[in-house]
């Protein structure tokens, strides 16, 4: 069944795209920056959603895989002088390969053990990047030339916003479509019952690694986009808390749904911005460290509140609202 079935669907799609791509006309640079960061997060969370939400392989090392992608394309650009359009796929591929390597334990372990393996992956990746000082600049970081494709300079906020939005839309379309292929259905089968999936002829070995590869390619793209946006690569851009935060986005949005990934990333990024704005006021009123603590406490509380009161995430709520209005005013929901 096609994703866009009716005229209304197509109409809404075009309205959304037009709205999205005319954003730079009405918004300031600051808001464009926020939207760009949201776009990058959406790409990354799509990857995590395929890996964790659909295939059930929990990963808390997503920021580490983003770092692999980001650093690969940064090094290719800065040291070897490759153009941006060539470096980005290389970064994505490198992240995917890193994902394959660290996904290998998933063939033997699951649940908590896999979480530990991916946490270990994050720290090992960051440590390796710092160790390879001659290539990556180690703790000093690495400055990256401003990206350009052909004669189009992408340095400006507006142009980069367009680039990220194109990637976000393509990533969303791809994520939605991967789930409709044989591989996507195999992922869901593995998540729901590994034993049953294997008996039905789904090769766990192949599909788990595919899930890791696809998820980490997404992370790699997001990582390169992030590095090129800031024009500077440093390990501080990929803190461990980000890995946790991406999983939080997935929970808030709703696991195993492409819409959910978008909802989650947008909601939590906006919350982040809210906290950043409220921070200085709070710091002045209470104590200088209040802003930092507010950020941490609000993140933790949001995740816990969603886990307890809305475990299926915003996506589920959205479906309920849609179901309500599709039958309105004669609807009755039991």
């Amino acid at each position: 069944m096609a994703i866009f079935r009716t005229r209304l669907h197509w109409g809404m799609l075009f309205a959304l795209l037009i709205l999205l791509f005319t954003c730079p006309l009405f918004f300031s640079d600051r808001i464009l920056t926020i939207l760009t960061m949201i776009g990058i997060s959406v790409i990354s969370v799509h990857g995590l959603n395929i890996l964790t939400g659909y295939c059930g392989q929990i990963s808390i090392g997503h920021a580490g895989f983003m770092a692999v992608g980001g650093y690969t394309s940064a090094v290719l650009c800065a040291k070897l002088g490759l153009p941006f359009w060539a470096a980005l796929p290389c970064g994505a591929l490198a992240a995917g390969i890193a994902g394959l390597i660290f996904g290998l334990p998933s063939l033997k372990i699951k649940g908590f053990y896999l979480i530990m393996a991916t946490i270990a992956a994050h720290f090992i990746i960051i440590w390796t990047i710092i160790q390879l000082r001659s290539i990556t600049g180690g703790p000093d970081g690495l400055s990256v030339p401003s990206p350009e494709i052909g004669s189009i300079m992408l340095g400006s906020k507006t142009n980069y916003f367009y680039l990220v939005m194109i990637f976000t839309c393509l990533a969303t379309l791809l994520a939605k479509n991967i789930m409709r292929t044989r591989a996507g259905r195999a992922f869901i089968a593995i998540r729901d019952n590994e034993l049953a999936a294997e008996v039905m002829g789904v090769s766990l070995w192949s599909y788990k690694l595919q899930a890791f590869f696809i998820g980490c390619v997404y992370a790699g793209v997001a990582g390169s986009l992030l590095i090129h946006y800031i024009s500077f690569a440093s390990t501080d851009q990929f803190p461990f808390m980000d890995s946790v935060w991406y999983l939080g986005m997935l929970i808030v949005g709703g696991m195993g749904s492409t819409t959910g990934a978008i909802f989650g990333a947008v909601a939590l990024k906006l919350l982040d911005e809210l906290v950043t704005m409220a921070g200085p006021i709070l710091s002045a009123a209470v104590a200088p460290q209040a802003a930092a603590s507010l950020a941490l406490i609000s993140q933790g509380l949001i995740i816990i509140i969603f886990l307890i009161f809305e475990p299926r995430g915003l996506h589920h709520r959205w479906e309920m609202i849609k179901a309500y209005f599709s039958l309105w005013p004669f609807s009755h929901q039991e």
Partner: protein, 295 residues
């Protein structure tokens, strides 16, 4: 040789503290099948509590320890009642995410209360100096070793000879039977969280006494996970053995290899390499039950 032995002895004492922290993790896991990612943050809170009661309050060591333990008990009760109880019976991922969220909340609270600063209270804990030949045993490490051994012994006695200890062991064995016999599983869960908090806080005070309290103490929890995985997640004896093994290995590896590596800091990632290797080759650890995974 003296250098090697020195590394081993320091590692041994450090490993004992790791083991103490890892035990808190194992107790929660055995009783309620919850993987508590926030264990390291209990340690950090413990380090700061030790500072608060020893320096601004100026309490003597025994009173400070008592106050810290009381705080830990309240903390454990609150955490169990407010966060874990509503999530009973939810999938593993939900519970793990809840403990991760708990760890960020604890981090935020510590930032608010102590300003995420480095707080030293070096030299306030009692010291015992011991020197065997050329090897000097760092006094704080020795205290850590002694306190850890005492704590482990108390826990062992608790499990062996008390009613609640028996209930906890029974819950670890079979929840349904326990409920059928009229033991309140929720009480067992609460007690296991209290023990985990107390153990973590004691570990935090010990570590804080050596290196001062700061936010990085929470990372010790990640090392405790490596210990737990190496020992086998459901074995207390395994946690102790693995703690000692890992503490020693880490110190020896860092002592010999750090000069060779440009960035250094091998001690920080060493546990993660151990973790990956254990997970790939022996997922049930050295002493764990074989066949934990069901694929």
């Amino acid at each position: 040789m003296a250098f090697f032995l020195q590394l081993v002895v320091t590692g041994l004492a450090q490993g004992m503290v790791y083991a103490l922290i890892a035990i808190g993790f194992v107790i929660i896991l055995k009783c309620s099948e919850v993987f508590n990612i926030a264990q390291g943050h209990f340690v950090m809170i413990g380090g700061y509590l030790g500072y608060t009661f020893l320096v601004p309050f100026g309490l003597p060591v025994w009173a400070a320890l008592g106050m810290a333990i009381v705080t830990a008990i309240i903390m454990g009760l609150l955490i169990e009642r407010l966060i874990l109880r509503p999530l009973l019976g939810e999938p593993v991922l939900a519970v793990i995410m809840a403990t991760i969220a708990l760890s960020t909340i604890l981090g935020g609270l510590a930032t608010l209360l102590w300003g995420a600063e480095y707080k030293a209270y070096h030299g306030l804990l009692p010291t015992i100096t011991l020197k065997v030949g050329e090897i000097s045993i760092p006094s704080e490490s020795l205290i850590g070793l002694i306190v850890s051994v005492i704590c482990v012994a108390i826990l062992m006695l608790l499990f062996r000879y008390t009613k609640i200890g028996l209930a906890m062991r029974a819950t670890a064995e079979d929840l349904q039977v326990v409920q059928g016999l009229g033991i309140r599983a929720t009480t067992v869960y609460a007690v296991s969280w209290i023990i985990a908090c107390v153990v973590g806080v004691i570990g935090g005070i010990l570590l804080g006494g050596v290196s001062g309290a700061n936010m990085d103490l929470a990372e010790i929890g990640l090392k405790a996970f490596a210990v737990v995985l190496l020992g086998g997640v459901n074995s207390i004896g395994g946690a102790i053995a693995a703690g000692i093994i890992l503490g020693t290995l880490e110190n020896v590896a860092a002592g010999y290899l750090d000069p060779l590596l440009p960035g250094g800091g091998l001690a920080q990632v060493f546990p993660f390499f151990v973790m990956i290797i254990v997970l790939v080759f022996r997922p049930y650890g050295l002493f764990g039950l074989v066949g934990i995974k069901r694929i």
